[in-house]
Assembly symmetry: D2
């Protein structure tokens, strides 16, 4: 008899259900007796013992379904050691639920923060397996995370739609893509969508160079310019500020995000109409794309094998096209960012894309 | 020999090219000698004599292409009689271009404003045919405008994406749909996307009733609520203001749009996290959907027949599934709005959708 | 207390679930006590008393889900009066189930055959309401059926995909579209996809004219031609045969369908490579498009009102943009076909589309 | 001054234009004087000197456009050394065109056959660069080919559509996926689409095991089964035949493809209705997906760098997320097939997918 706990934590994304289906199908086919405890709303369910016993019927037909059948919530790692309103120690509470249900292990789907908590639970002696979920693709130790390609598709769709309207009206358009700390999503959607200028958190921009890139296009007779701008894009000046100074500056900002600020500057200096589009949370939603479904089915199946092997404490990663177990202790807490000098940036620059640097 | 001028004016939308292809294919197959003058960037091209002679190659492969190969611009009707910076009378300039090129007629694709100018040109003695383009579906005298269904599809996609994330996080989500004066797009996308609350310019909302509708869902165990809110949604109090007072109030508004204001109020009164998504200009872009391609092919072909019949001064409308010539004089300047008591609103209310009234 | 039976019968299509959701939401909001009996697999469930009591949870999240949660099966009208293998009279069995469960009415979703049986049940004294479902759009008495637009979208997608490959290879491509008896789907998908030649059951084709249309394109320098051919497309010679002769001829046919036969003839006479694509059952599947979701929500809500009004014996139709109750006795058994002289065919011909006649 | 020849050869696929755009943009930004000779219809254009001088306008807006602006044709490698109808030696003719135009190099986009000819031209002393195009993903020396992911998406869409109809009708459905010699596309689309049984050319199937897998599902209460079958799927008996015997058997086959044969056998042994769907050429068509657009932009940009480095004789591959130059002499003529014992097959089997072996 295997008793498996499962939870999805952090911002949702498109293939969480597909990944859980992979785990459960992988186990059901190979383990005679199986109990799956689905904790509701992320770590919250584990803390407060809020769960549902899941049957294979729960996993039927969810391969293509976005969101998560378990619900999710954000439980910041930093607050895991802070007692809750009733004085409950959250970590001890999670351990208590785990032992009370005599779980063999926890399969935890989530991003960077989730992974840190998973690693903490591992250090506390629980058997955990982590599946790397995030549209941000910023989890260290795996080539790719699930949700990433589906989010690229949605952000690229937005850029594609904007392309026709930009071309018809000779305007500058900014599409703001999700990503506060890392620019993977903006980079891939920007290249896929044929953006002319791409601004990433990892490459602070010089607004003059951005404007120069627009003017270059205008001179070449191209009436419109499309910018793909990460939520966390930052100017060279702002990047030079201390964290505290920057926070203060952001707090004073007139606009909901940096894109509007950039838009203003461009309009001031070029006189061309600038429009901002913010696809926002749509980037996390909808049905997972086939790429993510394959990825999740493979990661889920590999996680099932790890459970059967009783090999715990790992993230199941995809590296060079193969699933692999990577010790959480080696990767938790590390961020995978875009290297400004990487090959893909060079390739993008070679075809004329400006990164404003 | 037929000499036809063509232009696309106002905000672009998805099936302008498909409609122009319909006109030109309809003429090319039936008129031996044909010259098509494509005026660039809407009425601007007609005013300043900026055009390209188009060949059938220009219309090959554009059935599925968004935007407009002629470019567009907004030329407010109100300013048509106001001389330009160089003292040029725009109406006289347009007439002059028309006569200089010895055009048989102008085929004009555009929305309400465009139609008013088209009607003015008709009154000035030019032969015009109007094709009703707008994602807003607010042109009087036709059951449907082109661009509308394509825009519904994009806005509905956004709501669909939001659905999975809302359901996973137990949040309230607002999707802001285009439409400052009329709510057709919001109504259709809202119903298609399964929105729980739909707010339209035509039905001023009572925020207490909006919140009651959310609370009703919460009590029924439904953790999330989705609102489809038109850009021009207006509260009962604001609707009671004079136009001037309202303008002043909007100018002072802290937020870029009413959706954020509504979000704040909901959060204040329910304590539930509210997120706003603004698909914005993506709603005008991308490839036209098959519905719009059929519509535009039919309208375009019907316009070609009107040219061959030398029957001018009409909008080509779609009424009860049939294309029909509707005199511009009867429809220009009139807006088609959502009747708060219409059958569809009743049907939507019957299944539990709240309009906040 | 209302006791409603519901079933979906015949070939499935995309918005069956959306329609049932509309009915049930419409009733749930307005009727205090409600029991919904969902009969499984169409009339079979009614005959053999195979049903599930449905709760509103069954209808949550199904607006966008293809297929039918009740299952379906084909139960030919002709065999309704033929006893089953055990000597059971099917009509009496259905009545017996109806009375045993003390149903107030049956809401029946299906196409032409389904409607005939629904009408039979009406004549036998049962309270029935019919919702017009079919991708074929051939139900008399309604402007449009649900499933039609979703199927158009899929068939058009297929033609769009073929377009790029046809253009690259200078080939003739045939896309075979569903529709044995009527050509609505082929006509709309053909026009939307920019097909050059459209062959419908209602307009017998002359193969020489088809080939002439291809040659005309070749002469005009267009290297490829796309044909949208209905499953039931028929040549003038075959149309002249008696039904029996035609059946015999079809039985002897070397190919799975007429498209291959046409392909052979074209190749023989032009020497150009011809490829056939058969999207087949994909045309019934997948998520309903926003158009169909609006349509079904409205029809479902209108059906709910009819139940509340205890007004039975009707199909809920969509006529000139309004839902309407149409007596089954007036429409059952009648087919809505494409009139070869209708406005849309003329418009299509005007832009150069050949119908091979 | 750089003089570059470019051609696309073999079956078309979705991102050929995106790849060419990458090459040309990469060069245009970095090479002062540039002449691009676009040979029409693959090697045919090179043989007969049929080309167009391309400008950057030709590459504007084609990132999202399927097919190839240069046209394509199949020119089997085996016949390259066979003189044409007029006695012309094709290889010498290609060299002659190359030298007459004083080309610096040829950029050749194509699959395995194309690569062999490219390698031959290299051996003959021409400067060539090969970009690996094929929906089949069977080119040795690169992790992935362009067109593959776009084709997966289309084939998966087809399976998705079939899923809803299969589930509603309790039928067995076969979706026939492109791939005569290799099963990559079927494997990925099958896993992404949630197929229950996947049959590949690399894993000969035992029909009894296929039927056993269907029966297992039926016993588990699952009314339907979906098979993803490669065009080149082969039974164990047929795999045991000599190539000649097999060809003879295929020639006698009653059906257009193996899928129909499998369908018949399943029906005979289970009595369940089986339907076959053949998406066919649609799998090559339509707009490239974002994944392929990124891939092609990177490969194209890397090819541009190779031209600037005057480093010829390579395929530009994608290996472990990096573009890389791989000597044609090492890879031409080798096929990349699915290893029946590879990790992904094991992962798929673990979750219960049957490969009929």
């Amino acid at each position: 008899m295997k008793r498996i706990g499962m939870l999805t934590s952090g911002g949702d994304c498109q293939a969480l259900n597909a990944a859980m289906r992979g785990v459960v199908k992988g186990l059901s086919e190979n383990v005679d007796e199986l109990e799956i405890y689905g904790f509701l709303n992320g770590y919250k369910g584990l803390i407060y013992g809020d769960y549902r016993l899941l049957t294979s019927a729960d996993f039927s037909g969810i391969l293509t379904k976005g969101g998560t059948i378990l619900g999710s919530s954000r439980q910041p790692f930093k607050q895991m050691r802070v007692p809750d309103a009733n004085g409950l120690d959250k970590v001890e509470a999670m351990k208590s639920t785990y032992y009370k249900l005599r779980l063999d292990c926890l399969v935890i789907l989530g991003g960077n923060g989730t992974e840190k908590t998973a690693n903490l639970l591992r250090e506390e002696g629980l058997n955990v397996i982590h599946l790397p979920k995030t549209i941000d693709n910023d989890i260290y130790g795996t080539d790719v995370t699930f949700g990433f390609q589906s989010a690229i598709n949605i952000a690229t769709d937005a850029i594609d739609c904007i392309h026709t309207t930009a071309a018809s009206h000779n305007r500058v358009f900014i599409v703001e893509v999700m990503g506060h700390k890392v620019g993977w999503l903006t980079l891939y959607a920007g290249v896929a969508g044929g953006a002319d200028i791409i601004l990433l958190p990892e490459i602070p921009y010089d607004i003059e160079k951005v404007i120069a890139a627009i003017n270059k296009r205008t001179k070449a007779g191209k009436g419109f310019t499309i910018l793909a701008v990460a939520e966390g894009a930052i100017s060279k000046e702002d990047a030079a500020l201390s964290k505290k100074e920057y926070k203060e500056k952001v707090a004073k900002r007139k606009y909901p995000s940096v894109s509007y600020e950039i838009a203003d500057r461009i309009f001031e200096e070029t006189g061309v109409e600038v429009r901002v589009t913010v696809p926002g949370h749509t980037q996390r939603g909808g049905s997972p794309c086939p790429y993510d479904r394959v990825l999740c089915t493979r990661l889920g199946s590999a996680a099932a094998q790890a459970v059967m092997d009783e090999d715990y404490g790992n993230m199941i990663a995809m590296i060079n096209g193969k699933t692999k177990r990577v010790p959480l202790g080696e990767v938790a807490g590390r961020l995978k960012t875009v290297d400004p000098d990487c090959q893909m940036i060079k390739e993008a620059k070679r075809i004329g894309i400006s990164f404003g640097d």
